[in-house]
Amino acid sequence: MAPAMRGVLWGLVAFFVFNAATLAVDPSAESPYASQVSVTVGWFAAMIAYLLGIGGLEAVARPMFGLSDTWREAPGWRRYFGFSTDHKVVGLQYMLASAGGFLVAGLVAMAMRYQLMTPYLTIFGSTSDYLTAVGIHGTIMMFSVATVFMVGGLGNYLVPLMIGTNRTVFPKLSGLSVWLVPFGILTVALSPLLGGFTTGWRGYQPLAGSDTNGILFYYLGIVALTTSSFMVALNLTTTIIFRRAPGVTWNRLPMFAWGILTVSLLNLIWLPEIQITYLMNLAERLVPLNLFNANGSPAMYLDLFWLFGHPEVYIVVVPALAVWNEILPVMGKKSLFARPVAVLGLVFVMLLSGLVWAHHMFTNIRATEQLPFSFFTEMISIPTGFAYLAAIGTLWRSRLQVNTPTLLVLMSMFNFLIGGLTGLFLADVPINYQIHNTFWVVGHFHYTIIGGMVFSSLAAMYYWLPKFSGRMFNEFWGKFGAIWIFIAFNATFGNFFVLGLRGMNRWVPVYPGYLVPENVWTSIAAFVLGAGFLFHAAHLWWAWYRGEKADENPWGARTLEWQTSSPTPEVNFSRPPIVAANFYSYGDDAPPVLWAGDASHAD
């Protein structure tokens, strides 16, 4: 039996057994089939059994107790359906799981936009059902796509290659953690079975206290997804610190590795914070306690959530900023401008990101508390601007090759600029009061996250496709798809600003009739955007298997991942690469990256 199938089967059996056993002794059971406690116990048992079934039993549990490691990875494509210690397999597993989350949450978004074409309820039976859809969309997008695709997917695949090592420090950790992503996505997506939840991705209290039991699957799903991201952050941070090849000094560390390192540090700080917050929420629900309800402190929950929630935005975006400065010097064949400033920008964004959280709570806090958060929020645009500075300086007078990855990077820069500028309005307290909780806010964060991170992820997929698959995409169709989603994206989310200024509130499926025409156009643009993303997925899939054979280093890049054959061989480097020069120096006088006596190319 395939390990994935075995994991699912063991997980299901464990859930039913532990749910039934807990139910038998739970005096608070509100139904003969399940209670809050029994579902929670069953879920934890299912998670452990599922991870053991995936391959954790043979590869982790047995060796932990001194028994031999009997795990054997399946050959060929089947290795992607089980536990693996190969960082390249794990990276692709993360990308696929994350893309699955994007599909699920994207389809939910399409349903939401269909609903919003009319000012009364149509496909959703109640406002609670609509809010559950909003919550599932936001939770899956944030915790399994935005946080995961670049760090878990691209990070696991590329960082070891970029720093010149053959494996990560804790390969078994990432081998297991990736399987928590589909588990977490399914948990959140199945929350309607327990009644759904109306709080959105933020789990706001005291609203969550009056929700049905669906909120349990929201908490538990996030525990699984954040645990996965935490494990990745731990592994990649340790790997970057301890496994760099000779000559990959901090001054030479590739930009993307810097991006992954900074967000991993953010993950290591803020994910435990949000996890203990969600575990407290869970305890509040099960015991019950009064931590965050009207008898406790709902404002404390807001603080605890946004302490994580705003750094989360930078966890999502910082790797995207790094990708820009990874791709542009290569495509422009020009040395990266002001590299130390670009690195400092990433680091200072990381440092400042923990000082801005209360700008999400301007309507809840005193005027004296608003000023510092308004100040720091506006200040964080300065180190963010460093990434732009480096990118624009690199573009200046370069011989830019405007191909699909470049085009997507330029689009991402434009979108993120709009996201950043509209964020400045929100950082300003008087304006924030006027547009708080309107579609302006929704437009702003979609411009930063989709416009910044998703466009950059697509750019990265096209840029590194020859490395992943050994094949090249079709340039015409790549550009066609890029222009398609750029127009559809701006038509959709640009309209959100107009809707917000005209009084369209978030979280409502029923709205005044005068907003119908604007909503109809926005929904049509959203459907076109959704189709555009499917087009890119289909194109990349086709190129992966049917595209032209690519050269080993089709872009003439200098970073280490391009110094091995493409697609990447089983063993990344047959001999240690010894780095002797900067990765981003281009021009006729640029010294070779590898030490002259080195022959690190794998056969």
């Binding site: 001194g66 804790f170 941070t237 803020w270 203990i276 917050t277 306690l289 009064n290 404390m300 605890l304």
Partner: protein, 186 residues
């Protein structure tokens, strides 16, 4: 930078594992910090009807488990099989006893009639519950290190499992002390 960072020797591999575990424990320190903040935000400086003796004993037993683990690590690094087996056994026993004392404290606290939903009640159960969860994990990894040691003899080149379990237990013992200070005294 030496070549061994590329193809790690056992020594550099051990250094990277130690570094990784250190990063893990530093990240986990965020959790007690959050809980201490919650404790003061919800219950101010009030201390409920807790049994100080039980609290002290639970914290001290955690420290004892960590100390025994450190001794076991030393014995494992010297390949003294009987020594590390016995010391790990006592470390597990100390951790389990600490767990038992916390459970007794829960029962005793509940018996005082303090509601779990009262401000001090909820911070008591949340903070001590987190301490309990860490102790359970630490007892488990110490136990696993002992069982493994009976099958795979530890020696000068192979004692990472004992060291990792011990470092984790040391972290948990500090969590216990901090929890005791902020929950029972301050």
């Amino acid at each position: 930078m030496a070549l061994d960072t590329y193809d790690p020797s056992e020594e550099s591999s051990l250094a990277s594992r130690r570094g990784g575990l250190g990063i893990l424990l530093a990240a986990q320190a965020v959790i007690p910090v959050v809980l201490i903040s919650v404790r003061f935000l919800l219950a101010s400086e009030s201390v409920g009807p807790v049994n100080q003796v039980l609290g002290v004993l639970a914290a001290v037993l955690g420290l004892v488990a960590a100390y025994l683990g450190i001794q076991a690590r030393g014995a494992a690094s010297r390949g003294e099989r009987a020594g590390y087996d016995s010391l790990l056994g006592w470390a597990v026993a100390s951790a389990v006893l600490s767990i038992a004392l916390l459970i007794v404290q829960w029962i005793a606290f509940y018996g005082t009639g303090t509601s779990p939903g009262s401000p001090y009640g909820e911070v008591f159960y949340v903070m001590s519950g987190t301490w309990l969860m860490y102790l359970l994990i630490a007892a488990f990894v110490l136990f696993a290190a002992r069982v493994r040691g009976r099958r795979v003899a530890y020696g000068p080149d192979n004692y990472w499992d004992v060291e990792a379990a011990t470092l984790f237990m040391s972290f948990v013992s500090l969590v216990g002390v901090v929890t005791y200070l902020f929950l029972y005294l301050i």
